[in-house]
């Protein structure tokens, strides 16, 4: 490998690599993102290697480990190019059949194809699967074309050409103007205009300047940054180098959370390779511009993803936020001008530089341009990462791409914006998904978590969950956030355990108001959003908990019980085996049945899951009803004796 000294070297290398990639040759791509690795895609790769060698297909078939394909729940995903035949849930034992049927005979292995939930029809081509059909994958598509561990793959599909263009055909101001005109807004949560941030840092007289990638994706339920960094780290690096050139920075940092070991590994490798090619370091491509990148790992603290807190961590301090009277674009890292954007924002930069602001402007809505990646999770059939143009109605994401709620349950709400966001109930499902409309609807874009909730999800429990989470993650520096969250949790704990009182809801609202006004950073200011938004849309659920001591969704443990219907029980004993505390025992009698001892039951719900569908003897009931029912039976029995 030789250092690239001019842009022409880069283009020559690209042409050479591109011609080596025979497009018509069969290529088996196997997803090696964290999701698919968890379902052992590495075994599938090994088996393919063995089979291909055994059958002597080495010349005809290429094997490629790629980044995340998005439909993570159905992994490991195998896609065979160029036809783009998509096999889901592939195990190592399926590989011989794929090799002999598909690779050698050109036939499909039906059982591994996607099955449409409505029609039951099998779909062979990736692009015909509803999950992919309705997406616009500008960023994620590259994930599927390259091996993230090979910089050559990225260069072959045109990687680093945007960098060459920026360095040699554009002035720094020109790059900033292009980004400003594109209307690109920060993908990390607030939706701040990226171009403005860059410009104000560039205009600041202070030196040196810094650029930072925020990959501290602490938002529970969101993992798109992870997939971009794991699957296509070079796109982020390229964006970062262009940004550094535009604002005049010589040094950049990537802050990755330590829960993402593969992302750290792939990014480290990418930096090393880019340095070897001379794309990072001294005198990049002979332009005279020099730039270095260092990785910093986080250590599991949600608040450290806040920009000023993150900069403290990079400086070696504890990751606590500080007041931002002066914007970090002017006084950030070591009090120097600093531009901080998240992974997805940086990955958009090369696209804009290559295709122009006008092209980018046409995607999405007037004020929210481009696409956005969402992590569509929770109670949804097609779970995974989706990339859609801004402004798409929520309904299309949930029902067209996600195929709706599984097991015939009813959709209840979608939560966006993570712990700072809110919920949209079914009545607002047609809301277009962009920065401003979501804010108007009382939620926010956030970093892109989209958690679908069905009728079995309790909204009070959800609010309690977020409050608990934020209480753990609050750094404790300012009182309104620290104490406000603690008191809110006490109230919510009371409500969910049946000890709620009249006036609790109003008290929550009052607390929320103080926290919003008086907290130091965005974490505290928005911490009450999950509570406020669930109160706004699901006040009746709160009232049911408080007044009737009843959890309508049958979630809150103190208010529910599990019971076995003796008439339906087939005495298979599966529930007893699954019970971790031995609360289920056999009752011999006329008809042998199993019974749950309520005093021992810890309400884990395992028995409900394992009870065979043909029996369906176990059900969740409100404890109130159980108590009432017990009284009734006792009374009934007494009556029987008298006879």
């Amino acid at each position: 490998m030789s250092r690239l000294k001019t842009p022409d070297d880069l283009f020559a290398l690209r042409n050479k690599l591109d011609s080596e990639r025979k497009v018509d040759r069969t290529c088996v791509t196997i997803c090696s993102g964290t999701g698919c690795l968890a379902t052992r895609s590495q075994d599938v790769v090994a088996e393919f290697e063995r089979q291909i060698a055994e059958k002597g297909l080495g010349d005809k078939v290429e094997l490629r480990r790629t980044g995340c394909w998005g439909l993570c729940e159905r992994g490991p995903i195998v896609v065979i190019l160029p036809e783009r035949i998509c096999y889901l849930g592939t195990k190592a034992k399926d590989v011989p059949e794929i090799v002999s049927e598909t690779l050698m005979e050109g036939r499909y292995v039906e059982r591994l194809l996607y099955k449409d939930t409505g029609t039951g029809e099998r779909i062979a081509r990736l692009d015909d699967i509803p999950f992919y059909k309705h997406q616009q994958r500008l960023l994620l598509e590259a994930n599927t074309q390259i091996d993230p561990k090979r910089i050559e793959d990225y260069i072959a599909i045109g990687g680093y050409s945007a960098l060459a263009k920026a360095l040699f055909r554009m002035k720094p101001d020109g790059v900033i103007k292009e980004i400003e005109d594109s209307g690109l807004r920060g993908r990390g949560g607030g939706g701040f205009p990226t171009g403005w941030k860059w410009k104000s840092s560039r205009d600041c007289a202070d030196d040196p300047k810094y650029v930072i990638v925020n990959a501290d994706e602490g938002d529970p339920g969101a993992y798109m940054d992870r997939s971009v960094l794991e699957g296509n780290p070079h796109s982020v690096l390229e964006g970062l180098i262009i940004g550094a050139y535009a604002i005049g920075a010589k040094e950049g940092f990537i802050y990755v959370r330590q829960e993402y070991p593969l992302a750290v590994e792939n990014t480290e490798l990418a930096i090393r390779k880019a340095r070897e090619y001379g794309l990072i370091g001294e005198n990049i491509l002979g332009s005279g511009f020099s730039f270095t990148i260092t990785i910093k790992r986080g250590a599991g603290a949600f608040v450290s993803g806040e920009s000023s807190a993150l900069m403290s961590v990079v400086e070696g301090k504890v990751g606590e936020p500080r007041p931002k009277y002066v914007h970090t674009a002017h006084k950030g890292l070591w009090d120097k001008p600093t531009v901080l954007n998240n992974v997805e924002t940086w990955a958009n930069v090369p696209l804009i530089v290559n295709n122009g602001a006008e092209w980018f402007n046409k995607i999405g809505t007037a004020k929210s341009t481009g696409t956005k990646i969402f992590s569509l999770v929770g109670k949804i059939i097609n779970t995974g990462l989706v990339e859609v143009p801004m402004g798409i109605p929520m309904r299309r994401i949930v029902f067209d791409i996600g195929s709706g709620v599984p097991n015939g349950k009813k959709f209840k709400a979608v939560q966006t914006g993570g712990p700072s966001g809110g919920v949209l109930p079914e009545s607002m499902i047609d809301t277009p998904v962009d920065f401003d409309r979501l804010l108007e609807a009382g939620s926010m874009m956030g970093s892109g978590g989209m958690i679908i909730m069905d009728e079995d999800t309790c909204m009070v429990d959800t609010a309690r969950y977020y409050t608990d989470f934020l209480g753990h993650e609050s750094c404790g520096k300012c009182v309104p956030c620290r104490e406000g969250l603690r008191q809110m949790l006490v109230i919510l704990d009371n409500i969910t355990s049946g000890k709620g009182k009249e006036g609790d809801i109003e008290l929550l609202e009052e607390l929320a108001d103080v926290m919003r006004v008086a907290s130091l950073c965005a974490l505290g200011q928005t911490a009450a959003n999950p509570v406020l938004s669930t109160i706004a849309h699901f006040r009746d659920e709160y009232e049911a908990h408080i007044r009737d001591k009843r959890c309508p969704a049958l979630v809150c443990r103190e208010l529910i019980a599990f019971v076995i219907d003796p008439d339906k029980c087939i005495a298979c004993g599966l529930c007893a085996k699954s019970c971790p505390v031995g609360a289920i025992s056999k009752v011999e009698g006329e008809k042998t049945v199993y019974r749950i001892e309520q005093e021992k039951c810890i309400k884990c719900g395992n028995c409900l899951v394992v009870c065979p569908p043909k029996a369906r003897a176990i059900s969740k009931v409100a404890s109130m009803d159980l108590a009432a029912g017990a009284k009734k039976t006792a009374a009934g029995k007494k009556g029987g004796k008298k006879k």
């Binding site: 938002d219 070696g316 990751g319 971790p580």
Partner: protein, 398 residues
């Protein structure tokens, strides 16, 4: 043979001789009367003397004090204490002379040396003169109490063992072997303490080598020394590792979190002495390191089990039943989140989002992810890991 269990830190049962006059034999087969248990030889103006006296009396000992070396040695001859606490900088005599004199008067008395200006040399010398422990002022009086407890137990053992040895004439090697064991063992203990205060690594190594020679002479009989040595060697290996990591980050203070993360990854936790080491090496205050260690979820100030079980409680997992999974794991292992089981096999943790939301609910054990495991699956997983650890330990021991 001496019983080293007391020395190794298992404190003996509380002493029963409070307030009673005790008759016993000293090392020279003379009948003596103990009128005091502990003698503190410290300057009259020393404010620590009273603190020590109070702490020891609260611990049930009869305490006498002496203000200078001469008086102290006289009292030793008449009151026959079991333990003598000697300030090395007392007026009237030098501390080292006093130490030598004590073992001449009565070898069953166990001396403890304290000093206002600790150094490796004086520690080693005191140890050679028979000091059981070595403390640098100011120290916690409770630490002294703990040390006195162990010293008293040792004195008792000496009294019991000295007589039969002398009565039967003893085997030629017994005395010296026991002495060398004691010396080596005490030396290692002192070094351990010094080390934890941040002894220079080169000095530490030199001392360890000489003690090692000593210990090797008695390799077969010195199981305890072997253990102690292993402990110190492990500590040393940890130090070397930390040094390597710090060098990798170029002694850059701003990378302290990265260094701690890497140490955590290699050692599974952050022992106190490692933090002290980092603090000295990087010239960062220890309190700063503790702040960082407490702030971040990923850093642990307690040892973690071989298998670190992380049950994800991210939103996606929560909605799909993470709390049920959590309850099952908890019930099966008998652990609450944050706890480690007694044999250091499993540590249970709750984490906020592992970023595998599509596989919810997710559990991660070390590097392996498990999507929605049933109770049966969990039982099988835990069982196979327990077996794996057993095999691993067996191989390691072989």
């Amino acid at each position: 043979m001496e019983d080293f269990s007391a020395v190794r830190g298992r404190s003996p049962a509380p002493l029963a001789w409070k307030g009673a006059l005790i008759m016993s034999l000293n090392g020279k087969d003379e009948l003596i009367m103990n009128t005091t248990d502990v003698l503190i030889i410290m300057g009259d103006g020393d404010s620590m003397r009273e603190d020590c006296r109070r702490a020891l009396e609260k611990g049930g000992y009869r305490v006498d004090v002496a203000g200078d070396g001469r008086k102290g040695l006289d009292l030793i001859g008449t009151a026959h204490p079991r333990v003598a606490v000697i300030d090395l900088e007392i007026p009237g005599t030098t501390g080292t002379e006093a130490l030598a004199e004590i073992s001449r008067i009565d070898p069953t008395i166990v001396p403890i040396a304290v000093t206002g200006s600790g150094s490796v040399d004086s520690a080693v010398e005191s140890m050679k003169l028979g000091a059981f422990d070595y403390m640098t002022k100011p120290f916690d009086p409770l630490r002294l109490l703990e040390s006195v407890r162990r010293a008293a137990a040792l004195s008792e053992k000496r009294k019991q063992s000295e007589r039969p040895v002398s009565a039967h004439g003893g085997t030629a090697g017994d005395g010296p072997v026991a002495d060398r064991q004691t010396i080596a063992l005490r030396g290692l203990e002192i070094l351990g303490q010094y080390y934890s205060l941040g002894l220079d690594k080169r000095d530490f190594l030199a001392e360890l080598t000489s003690l090692e020679t000593e210990a090797k002479l008695h390799a077969e009989t010195l199981g305890q020394i072997g253990e102690k040595e292993k402990f110190l060697r492990d500590m040393l290996a940890q130090l070397n590792l930390v040094d390597e990591i710090i060098a990798k980050y170029d002694y850059d203070k701003s990378t302290v979190l990265q260094i701690m993360l890497e140490v955590q990854a290699r050692l599974n936790w952050l022992p106190g002495h490692v933090l002290r080491w980092i603090s000295r090496r990087l010239k960062v205050s220890l309190s700063h390191l503790y702040t960082i260690a407490n702030f971040y979820e990923a850093l642990s100030l307690e040892p973690v089990g071989t298998y670190r079980i992380e049950v994800c409680t991210g939103t996606a997992c929560h909605v799909r039943g993470a709390s049920g999974l959590n309850t099952s794991v908890s019930a099966l292992l008998g652990l609450q989140p944050g706890q480690t089981d007694a044999d250091m096999t499993f540590t249970l943790k709750n984490v906020h989002c592992l970023g595998c939301c599509a596989l919810a609910p997710v559990m991660k054990i070390n590097d392996q992810y498990y999507s929605n495991p049933s109770t049966r699956d969990l039982e099988k997983i835990f069982e196979s890991l327990r077996r794996e650890k057993k095999n691993y330990v067996a191989v390691e021991n072989a």
